[in-house]
């Protein structure tokens, strides 16, 4: 296959994630997947926006949301985006240790975020917002929960990579894997920015 011409396995290519055809396929395919995810989340956002005032007598956003908590969560996720950017920069310079370290930092921040989210849901639940309470409740938990599920999956995925490749060094096979995991992580952050704005800020202020 005309796959790997021009790539010498011994020298580091400038974009190791795109150095092989497999890598380029993975890169492009993953971006397309994110394009689909955009519509997926848009459907959830739309549903939430359509139902956000349908509290059916139960508590609504303005009664529940802790802006400061959510603000901290946003900061955490934003920072984790930066750590994953550093991971990729280290990949480009073949500093594998650096790559692993920054990825672990990302995982840690992700886990912290999840911790906050679990706490948040627990709080709301105890203030009377069950999943079945109202259409607002269902749509809120589904939107934010789907995002949370993405974060969880991302964390597990990155941990798998970190453990599997803890001592292989950077290779033409794992470079695209790390790269797509990082893309996924950024995308999760992008979605959260909208959740922060549309659900929480508008929930309090709109």
């Amino acid at each position: 296959m005309a796959t790997n011409e021009a790539v010498d396995q011994h020298t580091l290519p400038p974009n190791p994630e795109k150095a092989t055809l497999e890598g380029r396929n993975k890169y492009l395919g993953f971006w397309f997947f994110l394009g689909g995810e955009t519509v997926l989340f848009a459907s959830l956002f739309g549903t939430y926006l359509g139902l956000r005032n349908s509290t059916a007598g139960g508590p609504g956003g303005a009664d529940l949301f802790h802006l400061d908590l959510v603000f901290i969560m946003t900061m955490i996720l934003l920072t984790s985006s930066l750590t994953s950017v550093f991971a990729i920069i280290n990949m480009r310079r073949n500093n594998y240790k650096g790559l692993l370290m920054w990825m672990w930092a990302t995982v840690l921040l992700g886990l912290t975020f999840l911790g906050f989210e679990v706490y948040e849901f627990y709080e709301y639940y105890h203030q009377g917002l069950g999943f079945t309470t109202s259409a607002f409740a269902s749509s809120f938990y589904t939107l934010v929960g789907t995002h949370g599920a993405h974060v969880t999956f991302g964390v597990l995925w990155i941990i798998t990579l970190l453990v599997r490749y803890r001592k292989t060094g950077l290779t033409l096979t794992n470079a695209p894997k790390f790269y797509t995991a990082v893309l996924y992580w950024h995308f999760i952050d992008v979605v959260w920015v909208f959740i922060f704005t549309v659900v929480y800020l508008l929930g309090i202020g709109g």
């Binding site: 796959t3 395919g29 689909g36 459907s43 059916a56 079945t132 589904t142």
Partner: protein
């Protein structure tokens, strides 16, 4: 590490683990034909029930189940997989690739579709199939008793995931895997339409995924999305369904358009007229396809401004579609038209689809749609476009590509009998339905009252359906008895595109040397301007191939098990199923598999034999 050679495998194991796009394509075809027969059988049952007024052949509840399963099966499990079969088999060949971009995911997509389809049909044996029509409007579906609709939700979710994966795979394949010289504007139209279709899949299916998720949450976990008493809104479902559902109909028709473009050009012995206009029209149809979904909802009460906008946007699609129709006519103009069965279907498509298309524009007339909507006029419209477009396309494609796919030519005489019976039966069945609708027959009725003037035409319609049934049986016979025609199968039609440059059956690596593409209709160019053979773009070398894997079956099986857990709210089973799925995914991700190489000597031997 890569093995030097593939391990010898048993035939069954080979098919279960294959990641070869050609084998996957064939499996899609076989499964699709099976589901087509099933959906057709359901259609026949419905038509028998509607043969006479107040007939009691099926109960009313059973009728609704058969109706729902007919629509769902035909769209998701018959038409799309059959098209996917062609796309899988043909597109890599047409672009001169050795394989698709993601062979493993390709196989995963197939197995997800198959398991999803089987899951859906299990409902027949567990107390009743879904009964809320293929559109599953809430609250009828969310309140439907029993588990039928749960099967609908999860069956479509599983098979929908497969479709989405398939779509991404085709997109990347077409972008990254084209042979040297095959620029985007030299791609055959079938490849182009596969590309646009895949974009539609990528952006349309997520809306369905969410719709189904919400419906599942409402039905199984007590969610309140569609529960009006708790503030829910039932129109949300309709939007999500149609944001998916309208692009879906173009997902079906565009590949068929692509096939007709190839077939008509081949049998007119002419280059496709207005190639770039055809490409452009395909893109425009894809784009407009996302702007018009609410034409299914004119009567739901969105208001006149919304209705007017969606009406006009819908009508606009007639323009690019018309461009295509006239380009096909002009391709025929001045040609030397050969009436093979493949071409007969392509030619019958033009008037049949035009008739269905123009009734679509009539439906798009919002003020008149209040009369048409949810009557047999709509049923007539969409069977005209679907059968006259998609199904004719599938049959044309079968007769055209069968020699390449299966190594034998289908019998032309039997094929012609099949064609005429099917064509006449089709028009007989659905032409009268336009009038039934306007004379006051709603769709989705389990029967109709005597004395309302609907008797004769319903009988005619049923007779037509029987003719289609007989025709289909003749097709099955044709497929079996033609197996002796194994001569002249490499390039029986004097083909124009790259797939005809390969031997039949196609070796697993497709092309010993990646071909160099110098013109649109690459093979035709070499035949009539060159020496008749494709130039090679690379020296003969070892060929890298991916290994097969059984994991896709496990991933799909896990999701199916989890679905049963959800349907019966036995969450232990749900967890077990998810563990199987994620376990298989985990294995896949930590086990590096770099495939194997076919040595030059073996490739040479393969060539020498021919």
């Amino acid at each position: 590490m890569s093995n030097a050679k593939a391990q010898p495998k048993s035939v069954l194991w080979d098919w279960l683990t294959t990641v070869d796009h050609k084998k996957i394509g064939i499996m899609y075809m076989v499964a699709g034909l099976f589901f087509f027969a099933l959906g057709g059988l359901e259609a026949i049952l419905m038509r028998i029930q509607l043969m006479f007024p107040e007939f009691s052949f099926l109960g009313y509840q059973t009728y609704n189940e058969v109706l729902t399963m007919h629509g769902t099966t035909m769209i998701f499990l018959a038409a799309m997989p059959l098209l996917f079969g062609f796309m899988n088999f043909i597109v890599p060949l047409q672009i001169g690739a050795r394989d698709v971009a993601f062979p493993f995911l390709n196989s995963l997509g197939f197995w997800l579709f198959l398991f999803g389809g089987l899951l859906l049909n299990v409902s027949w044996f567990t107390g009743g199939a879904p009964d809320a029509a293929w559109t599953a409007y809430v609250p009828l579906s969310s309140d439907s008793p029993g588990h039928g609709v749960d099967y609908y939700v999860l069956g479509l979710q599983v098979s929908g995931a497969g479709t989405l994966i398939g779509g991404i795979n085709f997109l990347v394949t077409i972008i990254n895997m084209r042979a040297p010289g095959m620029s985007m504007m030299r791609m055959p139209l079938f490849t182009w339409s596969t590309f646009v279709t895949s974009m539609l899949i990528l952006f349309a299916f997520p809306a369905l995924t969410i719709g189904l998720l919400l419906l599942m949450l409402d039905r199984i976990f007590g969610g309140a999305f569609f529960d009006v008493a708790a503030g829910g809104n039932v129109v949300i479902w309709q939007h999500l369904f149609w944001i998916f559902g309208h692009p879906e109909v173009y997902i079906l028709i565009l590949p068929a358009f692509g096939m007709f473009s190839e077939i008509i050009a081949t049998f007119a012995k002419k280059r496709l007229f207005g190639y770039s206009a055809m490409v452009f029209a395909t893109l425009i149809i894809g784009f407009l396809g996302f702007m018009v979904w609410a034409h299914h909802m004119f009567t739901v009460g969105m208001g006149p401004v919304a209705n007017a906008i969606f009406a006009v946007a819908t009508m606009a699609i007639a323009v690019p579609t018309g461009i295509k129709i006239f380009n096909w006519l002009l391709t025929l103009w001045g040609g030397r038209i050969k009436f093979t069965v493949a071409n007969l279907f392509a030619l019958a498509f033009i008037p049949s689809f035009t008739m269905g298309g123009v009734t679509g524009v009539m439906l798009a007339t919002s003020a008149a749609n209040y009369q048409f909507h949810d009557t047999y006029f709509v049923v007539a419209h969409f069977h005209y476009v679907i059968i006259g477009g998609v199904v004719f396309g599938i049959f044309a494609g079968m007769f055209y590509w069968w020699p390449k796919m299966f190594g034998y030519r289908l019998d032309e005489t039997l094929g012609k009998i099949f064609f005429w019976l099917f064509l006449i039966g089709f028009h007989l069945t659905f032409f009268v339905q336009h009038f039934l609708g306007l004379m006051g027959m709603p769709r989705r009725v389990a029967s109709f009252l005597d004395g309302q003037g609907l008797n004769e035409m319903n009988l005619i319609s049923t007779i037509g359906a029987f003719m289609m049934g007989v025709a289909f049986i003749i097709l099955v016979i044709t497929l079996i008895v033609s197996r002796k025609n194994t001569d002249n199968v490499d390039d029986p039609w004097d083909g124009r595109t790259l797939e005809w440059a390969t031997p039949s059956p196609v070796p697993e690596y497709n092309f010993a040397q990646t071909p160099l593409v110098r013109e649109l209709d690459a093979l035709w160019h070499e035949k009539y301007e060159g020496d008749g053979k494709m130039k090679a773009a690379e020296p003969l070398d070892d060929i890298h191939m991916p290994n097969g894997s059984i994991l896709p079956i496990f991933i799909s099986l896990g999701l199916t098990v989890a679905s049963f857990g959800l349907i019966y709210s036995t969450h232990v089973i749900t967890v077990i199923g998810l563990l199987i799925t994620f376990g298989a995914m985990f294995v896949r991700s930590i086990k590096e598999d770099h495939g194997y190489h076919i040595p030059v000597s073996e490739i040479k031997r393969g060539k020498g034999e021919r």
